[in-house]
Symmetry: C2
Subunit: 235 residues, 2 copies
DNA sequence: TACCGATGTATCCATGTCGAAACAGCGACG
DNA sequence: CGTCGCTGTTTCGACATGGATACATCGGTA
């Protein structure tokens, strides 16, 4: 089982989806709506309908010319190009977020200050961002929560070289023991036991791995920003 | 125009969507499929169909009992509960990611080492994670890219107190000038000009804001991990 | 001026989705 | 043993989606 995402842009209640992006790219490549719809195996009439719907919400996207030696043709506008690249960025970001390891830490809210709160966990106190669960409320003081920490938000330090607690931004600091090192091509995922049910994982480069000299059993300090966490109400 | 996400879990080609979660929650609350479908205004036959489809992919989700004084009833299994909370976490994470400010920095790849690369930008060299664009390839050396940096990944430091360049993980460091401070209830979004077309933004707490004494015109050092960035091919 | 291949526009139909409705089966309880 | 309210199953039809098709229109070019 794995996570997947459907990213889309919204304007005036009309969604610009991956399928729309595919259509626009095909038009750009084919130079015509007719060629694009044939390439995609979709009907031309529907493609034109869809373009019209999109243009009502997003402004001119396809410059359509009729007549001429070649019968006419279509090109994308600047707006369309920027929509395409914006959606591509969103997809890249979200796909990355969805596929990255996350660590779930159960705990209980002990303090709350607006969107931020302090959560008591097995590893100690944690500052986290409190967010409403879909169809629910923002967690209150004393309510049980699950804090999720994405591995790309976690930074590792040597215990001797750990930053001052109150040094920069609001960071959570946890000392722990490396339990696993999963080396990719250039990016390494290290898992660290910080005495929570789930281990914390951190993404780092091979370079950092070598400098920190990490191996199972090593002691490290893991830190992450409160604003990169999400605490939602547990059932 | 804004971004929206449709998070879902996948297993055996069957997606567990927000609508499915709504159905399961309604069953949990009503104690029966009949009550749940009425509460949601959906037909009972379809709800049962959907449950069957989901169970083929995810295992038992709803314990259905027939007969008895009350005619029977349905309860969620542990599997269903864990699916619900997993989807809720995913939604919270992705919704946060989609809505957070991102800074787009155009540049050109100058080095590539697997998933990581060095990108030359207006602000200087940047280490970023190279990812394939939807329906495209991973950027090569010399190709133009757009690097996106989410504001929750950015940490700010006082110029005098900036961390050593090679200190911990592979971090990008940029000195810049604060151009805006957008204070929320407890979380502040600071925008920093680092001589790129888009300004970089960073999320920090009020506390950090005060300690760093940030205001428009202040000099700061912004840093972020390479593994938290995404560089995709520009058109 | 005829041709060509595109854009416009309309209608028809296959398909899939989903609610409505009806009915059988079940089983604890009074 | 009958009642009750759920589960289980089927059939029907409304509705939206989207392909297939046909035909008019446009406007450079030969």
């Amino acid at each position: 089982m794995d996570a997947s995402v459907d990213a889309q842009l919204q304007s005036d209640g009309v969604a610009f989806t991956a399928a729309d992006a595919e259509l626009l790219r095909a038009i750009r490549d084919a130079g015509s709506v007719a060629g694009a719809s044939e390439a995609l195996g979709r009907s031309r009439a529907r493609a034109l309908d869809r373009i019209e719907t999109l243009e009502e919400a997003y402004g001119p996207l396809v410059e359509r010319r009729r007549g001429g030696a070649t019968g006419g043709g279509s090109d994308l506008t600047e707006t369309a190009a920027s929509l395409l690249s914006r959606l591509a960025r969103l997809q890249a970001t979200l796909a990355g977020t969805a596929s990255v390891e996350e660590c779930v830490i159960p705990g209980r809210v002990t303090e709350r200050d607006g969107e931020l709160g302090v959560v008591a966990t097995d590893a100690g106190d944690l500052r986290a961002r409190l967010v409403a669960r879909d169809g629910g409320d923002v967690p209150e003081v004393d309510s049980p929560v699950q804090v999720s920490v994405r591995s790309d938000a976690v930074t590792l330090h040597a215990p001797t070289d750990a930053p001052a607690a109150g040094g920069t931004s609001a960071r959570n600091r946890f000392e722990g023991t490396v339990v696993g090192v999963d080396a990719g091509e250039t990016i390494v995922c290290a898992t660290i036991d910080i005495r929570t049910p789930d281990s914390l994982s951190a993404l780092l480069t091979h370079e950092s791995l070598d400098r920190l000299d990490l191996r199972p059993g090593s002691r490290v300090v893991a830190s992450f920003k409160a604003t990169a966490t999400r605490a939602i109400a547990a059932d």
